[in-house]
Amino acid sequence: MKRTLPILVVLAVLLAAIALVNPFFLEPAGFLAFVKRAAPLVILAAGQYFVIVSGEFDLSVGSLVTVEVVVAARLIDGQESATWWVLLLLIAVGLLVGLLNGVVTTALRVPSFITTLGMMLILSGAVFLWTGGAPRGALSEAFRTFGRGNLGPVPWSVLILLAAGAAAILLMRSDFGRRLVATGDNERAAALSGVRVARTRILAFVLSGAAAAITGILLGGFAGVSAQVGQGLEFSAITAVVLGGVALGGGRGSVVAAMAGALTLEALFTLLNLYGISGALEFTVQGVIIIAAVAVGALRLPAWLAKHPPRKQGDTHVA
């Protein structure tokens, strides 16, 4: 909780700043609209958190989101009746891509940076090949409801976000969650305590794939079908997680902070937008944030090392 506080403070300040410029933001409808817009990224960041806290990266999620949306549009092609089996298929695709990322990273020992970078290119290329550059088909109304519809006054995506967030928090409190963080902190110690570190990491990638699938479903409804829908989302998700104070390299940080990081990032974009600063600057802002956040984390590390010097080679031989 101690480590979650800073990002919550930053978030509160940004929300207050938005409210100052745009009083509508304080009304339930205004605030819910903001959360609705943020929901896909927050869910994606929660998925990315599992991977990062275990000491890995998942760069494939942006492409995966695009794949989900493009595949959904083509398979549904406007037929309402196709909605449900396509939804199941989309989740399965997300799980499968996560599984592949995890197995390649752990069993073949390919660094996840490379595994998921490769997966990102493979998926982008596949989408391009399959669509010929322009996505075909259309989503059904039922499908689009998740991204833009309401249940009473509350958007569906906000409800899905709440459910996903609660699941993520519970998961991190479970034995699996504690094993995951321990693996990210000290893989060797975890393995020698009986943790199946490979299986644990694979599950983290699978969760990230599932989060990307859900994000794709929400974004398809919210933003519509395009071959660029997931572009750059992997970096937004990583930026959000790092902004939440989660250490790259694993072992440190909470999923609540990661999700708060995503909300903060979205709030920042909203604010920039309100001040009329070009949306094109979003990438630049993310770049600055990710470097700054990691630098702050790195500054703490040398101080830690100074306090905990590596064990001296003892002259212990007889016995």
Binding site: R179, G194, H308, D315, V318, A319
Partner: protein, 485 residues
């Protein structure tokens, strides 16, 4: 003619005195052995000579001129080279590149490869080394050959005093002979060699004089011709057992066999026969590299046996070992024992969460009180704890699953006196509750004080077994030469 004179060297680390008033001198063309038990101060003394540590007291003279080293490079310029047990070589660079690392000869601004290789070749020839050349990649050399590269490196900076820290620790038997030849060549070139070793045979084979250190002070310096091996051992360990240990197991308290191995072997171990009994603490002794750590890792399943029978079963993985009721407290608790940035609770529950069902959870606070963690705060991050408290958390981690067999590799290394006593008490308590315990310790007084019997390893085998209360001399003799008394 005295080449090096160290006078009254004293050093403290964090207020703890590790060296006081140590004198050491050596002459050109002398091999001077430095011996002593663990923690006697050998390494610290050598690191002071090499400029790694700055002494708090005392003076160093080379050729009668006082010197003061604030940095290893200054020691190097004064002609001191140190060859550590862990070599400082770049595995993917060539021999010549390693020898000239950081001071490559240049010609018109480019590295003069030819000159570098020619000079390396000349030094190799001088040492009579023909089995490899300047262009070979270091990765492809044997440990013994890499040692030669280190020596060539020392010669190429015109070292006159070479410190060798346990040079034979990682060498095979036949390579030791080659090292002897090499050391004698250095000696004939007029270098002084300070030779740190615990292997008494080497001391008597090579050195003209030997300095014995004990508890940070010099006991004596004598010509090797005037002292025998038994006398030397007595000088090294001769002291009272001043530590207090909990009483040993009474004969009735030692119960059934909890773990048994017959003919256990793998890459590092051969023909291991061992029984561990409920209620008994078995001490495991052996020189570094004798296979102690490898044995406990094999028993646990982390580096499994490839052959042999084991009851109740031969674990093939860590989880297999844990399922068979075996726990391992590793030698290096920071690298292998703890997730340092997690809480005490998360560390204490790690084994249970990884391997047992929900029922094996128990009351964490009560457990922390039982291992006498002070304060018993489950939310504290482990990295902020003292070494002793960290080790108690590691013990708690295993106690959650109540192992039948607990393997402890150096359980009190780097632990303060109070925590040490607490860990000793806890070990005895666990034994009394029916756990079979195997303990490795490089501290002989501890090993003798705690063990109901001592098993001694040598070269990957069990060299023999000694009863409770055996002397340090008896253990060392068995460990060093395989001879029982």
């Amino acid at each position: 003619m005295t080449l090096l004179g160290m006078r009254g060297i004293g050093k403290r680390f964090l207020g703890v005195r590790v060296l006081s008033g140590v004198d050491l001198d050596t002459a050109a063309g002398e091999v001077h052995a430095v011996v002593g038990e663990n923690g006697a101060g050998k390494s610290t003394l050598m690191k002071i000579l090499a400029g790694v540590h700055v002494p708090d007291e005392g003076t160093i003279e080379i050729d009668g001129r006082p010197v003061a080293f604030g940095h290893p490079l200054e020691a190097q310029r004064a002609g001191v080279a140190i060859i550590y047990q862990e070599f400082n070589l770049l595995p993917d660079r060539s021999v010549a590149e390693n020898v000239f690392l950081g001071r490559e000869p240049a010609r018109r601004g480019l590295v003069d490869r030819a000159a570098m290789e020619a000079e390396t070749r000349r030094l190799l020839d001088e040492l009579g080394e023909t089995s490899f050349g300047p262009r070979d990649a270091v990765r492809r050399l044997s440990v013994a050959q890499q040692q030669v590269v280190e020596i060539v490196k020392a010669l190429s900076v015109d070292a006159r005093i070479i410190v060798m820290d346990e040079p034979t620790a990682s060498l095979a038997e036949h390579e030791v002979e080659l090292l002897y030849t090499l050391v004698r060549r250095l000696q004939r070139r007029g270098l002084a060699v300070l030779y740190i070793s615990h292997r008494l045979r080497e001391v008597f084979d090579l050195a003209q004089r030997v300095t014995v250190l004990k508890d940070g002070a010099r006991v004596t310096t004598v010509p090797t011709a005037e002292v025998g091996p038994d006398e030397l051992v007595r000088l090294m360990v001769g002291r009272e057992l001043r530590d207090y240990f909990p009483p040993r197991a009474a004969p009735g308290e030692i119960g059934e066999v909890r773990l048994s191995v017959r003919g256990g072997g793998n890459g590092r171990l051969r023909g291991i026969d061992l029984d561990l009994r409920a209620g008994e603490i078995t001490g495991l002794a052996g020189l570094q590299g004798s296979g102690r750590t490898e044995l406990v890792k094999a028993l646990f399943g982390a580096e499994p046996f490839a052959e042999g029978r084991m009851e109740p079963r031969r674990p093939r993985s860590v989880r297999d070992g844990v399922a068979a009721g075996i726990g391992l407290v590793t030698e290096d608790r920071k690298a292998e024992g703890l997730a340092l940035r997690q809480s005490v609770r998360d560390n204490a529950l790690l084994v249970a969460r990884a391997t047992a069902g929900r029922q094996a959870r128990g009351d964490v606070r009560a457990l922390l009180e039982r291992v006498r963690l002070s304060p018993p705060d489950p939310e504290q991050e482990v990295r902020y704890l003292s070494g002793g408290n960290q080790q108690k958390v590691v013990l708690a981690k295993w106690m959650t699953v109540g192992p039948a067999v607990l393997l402890l590799d150096e359980p009190t290394r780097g632990v303060d006196v109070g925590a040490k006593a607490a860990i000793h008490d806890l070990m005895r308590q666990l034994a009394r509750d029916g756990t079979a315990i195997l303990m490795i310790s490089s501290e002989l007084p501890e090993l003798i004080g705690m063990s109901d019997r001592v098993v001694v390893m040598r070269d990957g085998r069990i060299a023999g077994e000694l009863p409770a209360g055996s002397s340090e001399e008896a253990i060392m003799r068995l460990a060093a030469s395989g001879e029982a008394t």
